[in-house]
Amino acid sequence: MGCDEKCIRQVSQYLNAPVGKLAFDVGGNISATLSNSTVTGFATIVLSLAKLSKTPQFGRNIEDEVVVRQWIEYIACYGRCLESSSSRRVLEELNDVLSSGAYFVGNYQTLADVVIYYILYNVMLGLTLQEKEQYQHLSRWFANMQQDPALRQKNRLLVFSRIPLYS
């Protein structure tokens, strides 16, 4: 739950859409106050923030927007697995998806890439070089994403090796 909060703050800063006080309600769901109404749930908050932003990165057409929404839901749903033993399964899935495309949606950066970058940062930070090499496509994508200082904010630049060392 803690990483959701941090991630929302980073997305808010990146999109230049201020998010007010974040709170956990009685059921343990995160909620934010956006333009005087309460919005509950990680995905819904992120999507609402994007709506408020001048650069929402929702995708270039309606179909791409559907795919963006799909990935935001995916990460809200499976993101918590990253702290458990099923993290491998999620990383493999993401790696598979990126094996056939440079970004998650179409061939350009969208909100999906932004949110997944922030959510994955802690996990990537903890991987060894050998593990990073196993998720070759995901690592390539991540190494590319972190080059943007506006996106990276205070996150460290993580080290990736371009030359396969272990295979």
Binding site: G27, V39, T40, F42, T44, V66, V67, Q70, E73, C77
Partner: protein, 973 residues
């Protein structure tokens, strides 16, 4: 667009229904899960868009096909996210896991269902006024569950809102077409298909606080039927070592009960636990549901806290002010104070019989209550948290009083029923507002009241709300699920001001000039009873309720779920508004409802067992306590069942717990003259101790969170382990062997006697008398009654035990059948008015006496003749009737004691007699209807009803049959 899905996957339904609803054409094809064409990621169903893009999130597809209307994006998105991230993972895990369902998972699912049910209250659609993507995704996930009658009965028996919303959606043509096209099967397999198509994240089952997470997570053997065997993890080396360590060295350092100084007061630096049970309302005899709901649950917890040597104060009392007392007083012809005095004694006696260990059982009609309540009101008022407002109220000018809802009758504005009550119509069941009644009349004098504006005080909850939110955030995590859900739903819509005064006489007067004729509304003063009853207990009550900063007092409140708003919002609001550092509740432990067999307890129909009945059944109080706690409605409504009571007594108490203890003690007496032998710890002994330690830790963990049902199951597991140990070791065989083997037998038996002593400690909160009895049979020293975290040797080698006796008796089927019959309805003993006369002549005598007194009082006050003359006429009529009833029995020994006129029954089957009686029944029935129709008072028609019943009995006895009477407006069933 084309949808690819595996067989029987409910998620595919979402997309088809959305397509049908929006009129977009979606075809579908069933494919195998292994079809590699749809991997990357490996997910089904997947929607192939015309542009060639693939969408695997069915919620995103649904939203794409049926976008939310302007302004409803956020609510729809919230529900889509909730369904995908929280609801579905738990639902799928629950329904696909077969019979071995994890208790926490089950509880989590119940909580989610409750959230959904609350959100659907009075709604056709979950967002707005038409079907949206949110409805569709929730509907489809629930479809296989709701469509299966067995599952629906199990999970949704008390979730009416979900069921009616679901049935409404299911009937829509667009939904029907999709259901026919896909043929998803009802039942659990559909969820297996769903998981096969797309893996689900492990659900977050419990909302534990960080502190809870650090605590070792013990598997719960409790939340389920004991028929489903828990999966036991193997005992580790470390556990064996720690069991030995505790056993060998723990005896000298084990906790001993500390001396309790009275009055009990909190002490700085120690754990101070203040426990309250909801104050039972004084106007009725408590039934079993009331007893388990609060007083008994709080009692177990209080006894557990004392076992842990915490400074524990358990406070309760009767709630006595309010309209219901006045109504009851009117009914019984007593003053409100007399009613309170009478029922207070009944309550007190019932709780004493159930062995409830209140430190003080008080009442709310005390000078202390008036003082504390008025003081708190003035503080709240002084701090600016009150407001006033004018409200319409009915005033009876003849009685010179404002009429509470229950004191008004009239014609229902909705259905035209003539005898509607001021708060609810018996004809159509609608809740109504007393001022809306057509042709209202005062229940007492039957004149028409006038509507008058009257100024009332309100507690300004919107102003207190920020304080409540700030406070509740810190405490809610430890509450029971239902308390959290209900409090959340109250806060969700924002709080509104609540009226706290009334124009009544029976209550605490408002201490302000100009408001002398008003009293506090009962919900405002009742919770303050907790404080004032503590003040009755000791002059130093402020040490509990306004503790110094160095002393921490933790308040636990045990209540039924209907009381949650008052304990989670209103009472804390009062205390916060006072701003005087009052102790505010930390843990709200709310129970659901207990049903009786398959229905509800009903006082008026005499269905169910009431506090006063339990003692007449011949079943000891401890057995009642055990069974009520065993079926405690902890996470959902549960039922009391006689057969189950007998089964649990015979299987769990008699054959498991009682059997183990009795065998251990009997062997010790028979083989070793009652003297405990040296205990040698071999591998089997250590394994047993380690297993028992697990149960003891789980028992503590359960009781810390007031999960009382779980606690009892851990106790039973301890004796189950003990029985298995004894059965495997067979000391009675060893006794016939070598010296060494006899020594071994001595060790086994003595270890079992020690376990019996541990069981006595664990059992103390649940069955105090049994616990005491075990200690007596063991001749255990007084200082064993304290809970050790691990099993230690309580009885040393050489200890001399007492005389073993069986602890429990078998409950026979015949006995249970008899009791079941006795309490199936209309039994007289449910009501405390056992003295109520039951023969017509006795009724009449009582009515005559009452009428007589009334007339004399009226005359004494110098009332006008016109006032008492009608009453005089009624009196004469009653006297005439009495004479008439006494006639048939005139040739008997004496009138009035015994059923009148049994002589008529002497000739069964006599057709003339039957005809005569039939005519008499018809005539009497007509008379009763006329009397009731004319609006006569109860005291007038009641005797006539009694005569009617008597005649009917005679008729049946004579061999006739009673035709169902034409219902006279169904007022009294």
């Amino acid at each position: 667009m084309k949808l690819y899905t595996n067989q029987n996957n409910p998620a595919a339904l979402k997309v088809l229904i959305a397509g049908n609803t929006s009129g977009k054409n979606v075809t579908h094809e069933i494919v195998a899960v292994s079809d590699a064409q749809h991997h990357c990621p490996r997910r089904l169903p997947v929607l192939l868009l015309d542009s060639g893009k693939k969408i695997f999130s069915t919620n995103a597809s649904t939203r794409y096909l049926l976008p939310p209307s302007q302004g409803s994006e956020i609510p729809v998105d919230q529900w889509l996210e909730w369904e995908a991230c929280q609801f579905l993972p738990v639902l799928a895990a629950c329904l696909s896991s077969g019979p071995k369902l994890d208790g926490d998972l089950r509880n989590r699912f119940i909580e989610l269902l409750q959230t959904l049910d609350v959100a659907l209250l009075n709604k056709e659609y979950i967002v707005g006024n038409s079907i949206s993507a949110a409805d569709i995704v929730l509907f489809c996930s629930l479809y296989p569950l709701v469509a299966d009658p067995r599952l629906r009965q199990y999970w949704l028996a008390d979730r009416q809102n979900i069921v009616s919303w679901f049935l409404h959606l299911q009937a829509l043509p667009t939904v029907k077409t999709a259901l026919e096209a896909l043929k998803v099967q009802p039942g659990g397999e559909a969820y297996q298909a769903l998981i096969a198509g797309c893996w689900q994240p492990m659900p977050e089952v419990s909302l534990l606080t960080p502190a809870d997470k650090q605590r070792p997570q013990l598997q719960s053997t409790g939340s389920l039927d004991s028929s489903i065997a828990p999966k036991e993890a193997p005992i580790s080396e470390a556990e064996l070592e720690s069991a030995r360590e505790a056993w060998v060295t723990g005896t000298s350092s084990r906790p001993r009960p500390k001396l309790i100084k009275k009055p009990i007061m909190p002490i700085a630096g120690e754990k101070n636990i203040l426990i309250t049970s909801a104050l039972p309302y004084v106007n009725n005899v408590p039934h079993l549901g009331n007893i388990i709901g609060c007083v008994l649950s709080a009692d177990v917890f209080a006894r557990y806290c004392r076992l842990c040597n915490h400074n524990t104060l358990y406070i309760c009392g009767t709630d006595e002010y309010g309209t219901a007392t006045e109504t009851k007083a009117l009914e019984e012809g007593l003053t409100p104070q007399q009613i309170c005095d009478k029922y207070f004694l009944i309550h007190d006696a019932v709780y004493k019989w159930f062995n409830i260990s209140f430190d003080y059982f008080g009442r709310t009609t005390t000078p202390e209550q008036t003082r504390v309540c008025q003081e708190m009101f003035l503080e709240v008022h002084g701090n600016g948290f009150t407001s006033t407002q004018h409200m319409d109220q009915l005033l009876c000018q003849k009685c010179n009083r404002y009429l509470a809802d229950r004191f008004v009758e009239g014609t229902c504005p909705l259905c035209g029923y003539e005898d509607a009550r001021g708060d609810q119509c018996d004809g159509c069941g609608h809740l109504i507002n007393a001022v809306e009644l057509l042709s209202p009349r005062c229940k007492i004098c039957r004149t028409t009241p006038i509507i008058q504006k009257s100024e009332q005080f309100f507690l300004d909850l919107p102003k207190v709300e920020p304080l409540i939110r700030h406070w509740i955030d810190k405490v809610w995590a430890g509450w029971s699920n239902n308390a959290r859900v209900i409090a959340r739903s109250w806060l969700k819509d924002g709080l509104k001001p609540r009226c706290i005064t009334r124009d009544l006489k029976w209550g605490i007067p408002v201490p302000l000039k100009g408001y002398e004729n008003k009293v506090f509304y009962v919900w405002f003063d009742a919770p303050i009873g907790y404080v004032s009853i503590t003040a009755e207990y000791s002059k130093e009550w402020k040490r509990w309720w306004q503790p110094k900063s160095d002393t921490q007092v933790t308040l636990y409140q045990f209540i039924g779920k209907d009381n949650v708003p008052f304990h989670s919002i209103m009472f804390p609001a009062t205390l916060l508004a006072c701003n005087k550092g009052y102790t505010i509740v930390s843990y709200i432990m709310a129970t659901e409802y207990l049903n009786y067999e398959d229905g509800k307890f009903s006082k008026s129909r005499g269905v169910g067992v009431f506090g006063t009945d339990a003692q007449n059944t011949g079943i000891p109080a401890d057995i009642w306590r055990f069974y009520l706690l065993y079926v405690r409605p902890e996470s959902q409504d549960s039922s009391f069942s006689w057969i189950d009571l007998a089964t649990k007594n015979n299987s769990e108490l008699l054959n498991n717990l009682g059997n183990f203890i009795n065998r251990a003690l009997t062997f010790a007496e028979k083989f070793f003259g009652g003297i405990l032998q040296e205990i040698i710890l071999g591998p089997a002994e250590l394994a047993l101790l380690a297993q028992v330690n697990r149960e003891v830790r789980a028992y503590s963990a359960a009781l810390e969170r007031a999960r009382l049902r779980d606690g009892i199951r851990h106790i039973l597991s301890v004796s189950r382990h003990g029985n298995q140990f004894m059965q495997a070791q067979q000391p009675w065989v060893l006794m016939k062997g070598t010296d060494q083997e006899r020594q071994q037998a001595g060790s086994i038996v003595s270890l079992c006697c020690n376990l019996a002593c541990t069981l006595a400690v664990l059992l103390h909160p649940y069955m105090p008398s049994t616990s005491e009895e075990i200690c007596e049979q063991l001749n255990a020293p007084k200082d064993v009654m304290a809970l050790s975290p691990e099993v230690v040797q309580l009885l040393p080698t050489g200890h001399h035990i007492g005389k073993p006796k069986p602890l429990f008796a078998k409950i026979e089927t015949a006995q249970i059948d008899k009791l079941k019959q006795q309490f199936s309805g209309r039994q007289k003993s449910a009501s405390p008015e056992k003295s109520t006369p039951s023969t017509p002549s006795a009724y009449l005598e009582a009515a005559i006496h009452k009428q007589d007194v009334q007339i004399r009082q009226l005359k004494a006050t110098g009332a006008d003749q016109s006032e008492w003359l009608p009453l005089e006429a009624t009196l004469q009529e009653l006297k005439r009737q009495l004479a008439a009833t006494q006639q048939p029995a005139a040739n008997g020994p004496r009138v009035g004691n015994g059923p009148a006129a049994p002589a008529a029954a002497a000739s069964p089957g006599n057709p003339e007699e039957i005809a005569r009686l039939e005519a008499a029944v018809a005539q009497q029935g007509e008379k009763v209807r006329q009397l009731k129709g004319s609006g006569a008072e109860r005291s007038v028609w009641q005797p006539q009803v009694a005569i009617l019943q008597q005649l009917k009995e005679q008729l049946v006895a004579a061999g006739g049959s009673v035709a169902p009477p034409p219902k006279p407006k169904g007022k009294k069933k």
